[in-house]
Symmetry: C2
Subunit: 141 residues, 2 copies
């Protein structure tokens, strides 16, 4: 499939390999409407590729995240979920009802700049999760 062509090139250029298992994970995340847990990815992947193991899913997700082909996001209960890497963005999620709002990366650029200036670091966090209370839950305490 065409949407995975660039990913394939990226990996090979770095001496790594594109496998059907990794393609399967990318495919699943590509069609997912939202972030998925490793378990959810596994369930779908196992359906498409019987015999594939959970171990492989965990490894594929970590690997793909390391190569910026997928992003990991933190949930309110401290667990990681994944999504296909796309336009840089962040999340704001309600601790009570779980409602999510997406945040453009541009909004954070100024802070990134000032943090880089004062620390000398090059920041490459690509996917932050802020927590809080949504307009509704803010009312009902």
């Amino acid at each position: 499939m065409s949407c995975t062509e660039p990913a394939l090139q990226t990996l090979r250029a770095r001496g790594f390999r594109m496998t059907p298992q990794r393609l399967c994970v990318l495919e699943i995340l590509h069609n997912a409407p939202e972030h998925l847990t490793p378990q959810q990815v596994y369930e779908q992947a196992a359906r498409a590729m019987p015999g594939l193991t959970e171990t492989t899913i965990y490894r594929a997700l970590e690997f793909l995240a390391g190569h910026n082909l997928v992003n990991a996001a933190l949930t309110a209960n401290g667990k990681l979920t994944y999504e296909l890497a796309r336009r840089a963005h962040h999340h704001l999620v309600c601790r009570v009802c779980g409602q999510q709002v997406e945040i453009d990366h541009e909004i954070l650029l100024p802070v990134y700049r000032s943090l880089e200036e004062t620390s000398g670091f090059h920041i490459n966090t690509s996917h932050l999760t802020f927590f809080g209370l949504c307009p509704h839950c803010k009312e009902t305490e």
Copy 2:
């Protein structure tokens, strides 16, 4: 110990209890030079209170974090570590060597404000972790 007095009041006022196990966890974090993993807390706690279980440590950390007496922080590999809640701050950690820099919460206030304004949310994320490359590792690629 006096440093735990306020914590005790906080909990009782809300109908919860201060137990020797929770005090032990607070005590350990109070003396820790940096963030600790649940396992590290357990090792120290078990030495002070034989019989205490890992289950209790996990529950105490989550409970105390829920009451803002301790803060959870994300490590580069997606795992949670804990520290005693103190002045609001965040972290900037190098993905290569692990070097950490602390960030004053004030620096992020403007962004918080603008995020709250545009989303209507009340943000209460108290402990963010930014990742990147430190000045040194930035050089050596």
